[in-house]
Amino acid sequence: MASSSQSPTKLYLMIWAWLAGLMLIGVFLSELPIPKATIVLIVLGLSSIKATLVALYYMHLKMDRWVLALVALVPLVLIVLALSVVFAGRLVQL
């Protein structure tokens, strides 16, 4: 995909194209007659890729100190824990 050794402007424009393209793919897929659970997984997967691109290249986590990546990862770990609790509760109900 994109390389940080390129000129920043070219890199940023390439990331913009990826973000816009992935977003339009998600909108297109959501219109197709595909089972809802599959669409949700695919589109949220695409959103995660877009968020990662923004964090790595626009927020410069790829080039910055690893301490910042750790700070960014802490809430993600907490999110996984929170979702685990929510879905564990639903499984118990079933």
Binding site: T9, W16, M23, V43, L44, M59, V86, R90
Partner: protein, 201 residues
Amino acid sequence: MMSQAQAIGASGHANVPTATGIPNGKLGMWIFLASEVMFFTGLIGAYIVLRLSHPAWPGSEGHLIVHIGTINTLVLICSSTTIVMALAAAHRGATPAVRWWLLATIGLGALFLTIKGFEYAAKFSHHIVPSTNIFWSCYFVLTGFHALHVLGGIVFNTLVLAWTRDERLWAEHAHRLELAGLYWHFVDIVWIFLFPLLYLF
């Protein structure tokens, strides 16, 4: 005369040595953003739990126009690019370019809020308000808090734009452009998840 690239590197508090090697302001902004992630996770998590509890959700009463959401998403993606271009221009010492890219970012943020305002107005004209049903409660809370964050970002970006007009102030505050950019990208990331959750499913 000090170039803007030098200004960013040597200005104000940005270059004070720290134990982590990261400027305090930048580390503080990342910690703040981590707390903001938890704030929106709480709201989005509540939305997901409520939605999973209602199989027929949102039904015919919960219709949002996808192409308006798509346009607004494109607007925010473009604004993320313009603010990172402003930072790149600052690193080159090209202050006039910084101003133009910041102005574009502020304009795109205002466009996002204007489109959102028209969306809200259309809903209100059909007597759809936060108390209409649980879907609309979630919609107005999620998009309302996000819009407030966009507004906060516009204010921050406008402050940075104002600092570029005075060489002395810019030399002192140039490093805050990066902080404004980090905040703005966070606002973009939140919308990246809100858009499909509210408009596409």
